[in-house]
C-alpha cells in the first residue's frame, strides 16, 4: 500500500478492478493486457471518482478521528496526542449529554411527524379525491402541491429567522393573534424562552420547512403505483384511511425509509435552525444540540480536539440512527422489497 500511494489513480484501478467481476476477475485480467485503453478506462471511471471520494470524504473523516485524540486548539499547528481523554471528558460532561438527548429528541419527533403529515397530504392530493369516477386527488390539488412546496424553496436560515420574529413575545404574529382572541395568558409569552415550548417550537419550524418536499417525494412514489391497484382496493370497500395504511404505505415503503433517514440526518444536525431560533442554547439548554455545542467548543473555546470527538460521536449516532431505521423497516416486513430494489 505504501508503494501504491505514489500514484493514486493506478493504485485504485488495480485495487478496484476485481470488484465488479467478483471471483472471475483474475482470469479476465489475464486476458486483457494492460493496454492504454484498458488502463485509462479504469483510471477515468473508477480511479478518479474513487480517488476524489477518498480525498474529500474519507480522508477528512480519518483526520477528524485522529484529531479527536489530540488536544489541538485549532489555531496552531502544534498539538499532542492525548488518547481517549476527549471522549472520557465528553461522557462526563453533563451539557454534552443534554445536547445528545436534545438531538435524539429531534431525530425521533421530526421524521415521524414530517412523514406522517407529508404522507397524508400526498395521499389526499393523489388518491384522496371523490370516491366516484377515476382515482384522483382533491379538487385544487395542483394548487396545494405548488403552495406546500414553497417553504422548501426558502433557505433554512431565512425560515428560522422568520419564525423567530413570528414567535416574538411582544411584536410577534402568534401572540398578537392569540391575545386578539382573548387568550390573555399569551401576552408577552416567550415561546422560545420557556422550557415547555422552546423545543416544540423548534421542531415545528423544522417540520414546517420540510413537509412540502417530502410530500412531493411521496406524490411521485404514489404516481408510480398503477391506478388499478387503487381501483381494486376501492372495489373491495377500502376507505381513504385504509388505502393509505394498507396500499400506499407498503407500496412506497422504500421511499418512506429514505425520507426517514434523510430527515433524521437533518434533525440530528439541526444547526441552522437552533442557532437562528435560540443561539444561546435555549432556556435551561433545552434546545442545545450536538452540532451547536460542537461549533461553540471549536471556535469559541478553541478546542478542536474535543470538538472533533463530538463530531465523531455525532457521526456514530447518525450511523446508529440509519441502522435502526433499516432494521425497523426490515422487521416490519420490508424484506420482500429487498430483492426487487437491491
Amino acid at each position: 500500500m505504501t508503494a501504491t500511494s505514489q500514484d493514486p489513480g493506478r493504485a485504485l484501478a488495480v485495487g478496484a478492478g476485481p470488484t465488479p467481476g467478483g471471483r472471475k476477475a483474475p482470469r479476465r485480467r489475464r486476458r486483457h493486457p494492460l493496454t492504454l485503453d484498458y488502463v485509462s478506462f479504469f483510471v477515468m471511471f473508477l480511479g478518479l471518482p474513487l480517488g476524489l471520494f477518498l480525498v474529500f470524504v474519507i480522508w477528512p473523516f480519518a483526520q477528524a478521528a485522529y484529531y479527536s485524540l489530540t488536544n489541538w486548539t485549532g489555531f496552531s499547528a502544534d498539538f499532542d496526542v492525548i488518547g481517549v481523554s476527549n471522549y472520557l471528558r465528553l461522557f462526563n460532561d453533563e451539557l454534552f449529554r443534554t445536547a445528545v438527548w436534545n438531538s435524539a429528541r429531534l431525530a425521533l419527533v421530526v421524521p415521524l411527524v414530517t412523514i406522517s403529515i407529508a404522507l397524508i397530504f400526498a395521499s389526499l392530493i393523489t388518491v384522496g379525491g371523490s370516491a366516484k369516477g377515476n382515482i384522483r386527488g382533491l379538487a385544487g390539488s395542483d394548487f396545494y402541491r405548488v403552495v406546500s412546496f414553497f417553504p422548501y424553496a426558502i433557505p433554512a436560515i431565512v425560515i428560522a429567522l422568520m419564525w423567530r420574529l413570528i414567535f416574538d413575545p411582544n411584536i410577534g404574529l402568534i401572540n398578537g393573534v392569540l391575545t386578539a382572541f382573548g387568550l390573555g395568558q399569551f401576552e408577552s409569552y416567550p415561546w422560545l424562552g420557556r422550557v415547555a415550548t422552546a423545543m416544540p417550537v423548534t421542531m415545528f419550524v423544522i417540520i414546517w420547512g420540510m413537509v412540502g418536499f417530502y410530500m412531493l417525494l411521496f406524490i411521485a412514489a404514489i404516481k408510480g403505483v398503477p391506478a388499478e391497484t387503487f381501483e381494486a382496493a376501492r372495489l373491495d370497500g377500502a376507505g381513504r384511511w385504509r388505502t393509505i395504511r394498507s396500499i400506499i404505505l407498503p407500496l412506497i415503503r422504500n421511499n418512506v425509509q429514505t425520507a426517514w433517514i434523510y430527515l433524521g440526518i437533518i434533525a440530528l444536525d439541526g444547526f441552522v435552525y437552533v442557532q437562528a431560533l435560540n443561539p444561546t442554547g435555549g432556556p435551561a439548554n433545552s434546545t442545545l444540540v450536538m452540532s451547536q455545542y460542537l461549533f461553540r467548543t471549536a471556535f469559541t473555546d478553541g478546542r478542536f480536539g474535543l470538538a472533533s470527538a463530538m463530531g465523531v460521536v455525532l457521526a456514530l449516532v447518525t450511523l446508529l440512527f440509519a441502522a435502526i431505521v433499516f432494521s425497523v423497516n426490515r422487521a416490519l416486513g420490508g424484506r420482500d422489497e429487498k430483492g426487487s430494489s437491491g
Partner: protein, 473 residues
C-alpha cells in the same frame, strides 16, 4: 517561530500511518493540517535590510503588502480603511487590503493553522478567537506603544490610564484594545425630564423609579436573549462598587463561593425584587436582543438599559427622535459604597492583534501605530461618537452627542475610581451564563438557584485541567 517544518513531518507520518493513497490534492482537504508553504513562511519586511527611523520605527518595506481583517460590528471597518489611507500617504508603494467579517474565528482559523494569518486583526465580536488559545502566537506590542505617533508624541503618553491592562495576558502585552468603553445605565434625557425622574443611585431608588414607571404604564428594564448577561455585568459592577477589590479579585480568580459574597447576594436580591414586582418588560427570554433594545430606545416601553457605551452607535438607526441618550454610573447598594458613588466600570475594547506568523509583521504594527495617531483617533471619535484610548479626541460638545458627553463626564467624575473585570469572556463562560440569566430575568429561578448555577459554571472552569487561571491584579 514558524512550525512549518514539524507540521510537514507530522503530516507525512500521518499519511504513512493511515496508508491512504493520497496525491497532491491533499492540501485542499477540509480540516487540513496544511496550507503550509515553506517558501512563503519567511516573513518579509522584518526590518533586516530596511532602515529604521522615527518615520518608520518597525522597518516596513516600502513596496510590501499589508492585510488587515477587521471585526465588522457596531463600528464598521471604515476607521481602519481611513488609517490605511493615512499610511498610504507615507508609503505610496505599499498595497493595502482591509477587509471585514463578523466571523473572526471561523474565517481565520485555517489561516492560523496554515501559518499565514493576516498582519493585523481586530479580534472582537461573538466569534472572537479565545485569547488563551492563541496567546503564544501573538507579537508583543510594547514597541508600538513606545513608538512616536505620526504627530511625534510617544504613544504611551497620549493614552488614557489603564487601557493597556485588558490586552495584557500573563505579563505579555499582545492586544491593543482600541476603543474606550464605559459601562453604566442608559436612559432618555427627554423622557426623564418630561416625568421629572432622576437617575437612581441606589437599588432602593431604582425600585421606587420602577413603581413610578409602572404608574405610567412603562417598565423599568427590558432584556434580550443574547444580551441577558448585561444584567450580570450590572450586578457584578454594582457589587464591586459596594465591596471593592476583594470581590473583584475573587471573581477574576474564579474562587470557590465567589458568587455567595454578601454584596453580590444583596444585589441579586434587589434585582429579584424588581423582577417579582413586574418591572421587567416580560418576554425577553424569547426576544432577539436588538429587538429588545429597541423596546427601550425606539418604542420607549422600558426606561433604563444596562450596557456599554457602544449602545448609542449600535442603536443609531433605532432610536426615537429627540431621545437625548444619557448614561449614569451603575447603582450601588448603600449611600457610601467602598469605591465611591461615582466609581465606574470602564475598559478598552476591540482588541487589535498582530500574529507572529504574519507575513508582514512590521506593516501590521505600522498600521496600528497610524491608528493610534491623533488624526486617525479623532476620525474614529467623530464618526463613531465613541472615544478611542487616545485621550483628548472628544470636544466639549461631544460632536452633538449627549451620550458621548455623559460618557466623558462619567470618566471625569469617577476621579480615577475606574475598575474592570474580564473573567466571563476570558474563560468563555458567557454562553452558559446567558442560559441562567434568561431564566432568572424571566422569573423562573430563585436567587439561590441563580447563585448555584453561576457558581457551578465557574467551578467547572477552575477545576478544568486544560484551562490555566490567569493571575489578575
Amino acid at each position: 517561530m514558524t512550525n512549518t517544518g514539524t507540521s510537514v513531518n507530522r503530516r507525512s507520518v500521518l499519511i504513512a500511518a493511515m496508508g491512504l493513497p493520497l496525491g497532491v490534492t491533499l492540501a485542499s482537504c477540509a480540516t487540513g493540517g496544511g496550507g503550509d508553504d515553506p517558501a512563503d513562511a519567511e516573513p518579509a519586511g522584518n526590518g533586516e535590510d530596511q532602515e529604521v527611523d522615527a518615520d518608520n520605527p518597525f522597518g516596513v518595506q516600502p513596496d510590501s503588502a499589508v492585510e488587515a481583517v477587521i471585526f465588522d460590528g457596531g463600528y464598521g471597518i471604515d476607521y481602519v480603511e481611513n488609517a490605511a489611507e493615512i499610511m498610504q500617504a507615507n508609503f505610496p508603494d505599499m498595497t493595502f487590503n482591509v477587509s471585514g467579517t463578523v466571523n473572526i474565528a471561523p474565517e481565520l482559523q485555517p489561516r492560523f493553522v496554515g501559518g499565514d494569518p493576516p498582519d493585523l486583526i481586530d479580534n472582537a465580536g461573538a466569534q472572537q478567537i479565545g485569547f488563551t488559545t492563541i496567546l503564544n502566537q501573538l507579537e508583543e506590542l510594547d514597541d508600538v506603544i513606545d513608538a512616536p505617533n505620526l504627530e511625534g508624541e510617544i504613544i504611551r503618553d497620549t493614552l488614557f490610564d489603564g487601557v493597556l491592562e485588558p490586552g495584557t495576558y500573563d505579563g505579555r502585552f499582545v492586544a491593543v484594545n482600541y476603543v474606550l468603553t464605559v459601562y453604566g445605565l442608559w436612559y432618555s434625557g427627554s423622557l426623564f425630564a418630561e416625568h421629572g425622574w432622576e437617575p437612581p443611585t441606589t437599588w432602593a431608588e431604582a425600585m421606587d423609579l420602577g413603581a413610578a414607571a409602572q404608574d405610567e404604564g412603562l417598565y423599568l428594564f427590558c432584556w434580550g436573549q443574547e444580551a441577558a448577561t448585561y444584567y450580570q455585568t450590572l450586578a457584578i459592577d454594582s457589587a464591586i462598587k459596594e465591596a471593592g477589590d476583594e470581590l473583584r479579585l475573587s471573581l477574576e480568580h474564579l474562587e470557590e463561593g465567589a458568587w455567595s459574597h454578601e454584596a453580590l447576594q444583596d444585589v441579586f436580591h434587589a434585582m429579584k425584587d424588581i423582577i417579582d414586582a413586574g418591572y421587567f418588560l416580560p418576554g425577553g427570554s424569547g426576544t432577539q436582543f436588538t429587538a429588545a433594545q429597541a423596546q427601550w430606545s425606539l418604542e420607549q416601553q422600558a426606561i433604563l438599559y444596562p450596557s456599554g457605551s457602544w449602545i448609542e452607535n449600535e442603536m443609531a438607526d433605532q432610536t426615537a427622535e429627540g431621545f437625548e441618550m444619557r448614561g449614569f454610573p451603575t447603582m450601588a447598594l448603600s449611600d457610601s459604597p467602598a469605591l465611591g458613588a461615582n466609581a465606574i466600570h470602564s475598559t478598552a475594547g476591540e482588541p487589535f492583534i498582530v500574529p507572529s506568523d504574519a507575513e508582514n509583521v512590521a506593516a501590521g504594527k505600522e498600521l496600528l501605530r497610524t491608528m493610534l495617531s491623533r488624526e486617525a483617533a479623532e476620525y474614529f471619535a467623530r464618526e463613531k461618537l465613541a472615544p478611542t484610548i487616545v485621550a483628548g479626541t472628544v470636544p466639549e460638545d461631544g460632536f452633538g452627542s449627549t451620550a458621548l458627553v455623559s460618557q466623558t463626564e462619567m470618566l471625569e467624575q469617577a476621579e480615577g475610581a475606574i475598575f474592570t473585570h474580564d473573567f466571563v469572556s476570558r474563560y468563555g463562560m458567557n454562553q452558559e451564563m446567558l442560559v441562567v440569566w434568561n431564566s432568572f430575568l424571566d422569573g423562573q429561578l430563585s436567587v439561590e438557584e441563580l447563585t448555584n448555577d453561576l457558581q457551578s459554571i465557574t467551578d467547572g472552569v477552575r477545576e478544568d485541567d486544560a484551562i490555566d487561571i490567569i493571575e489578575v491584579t
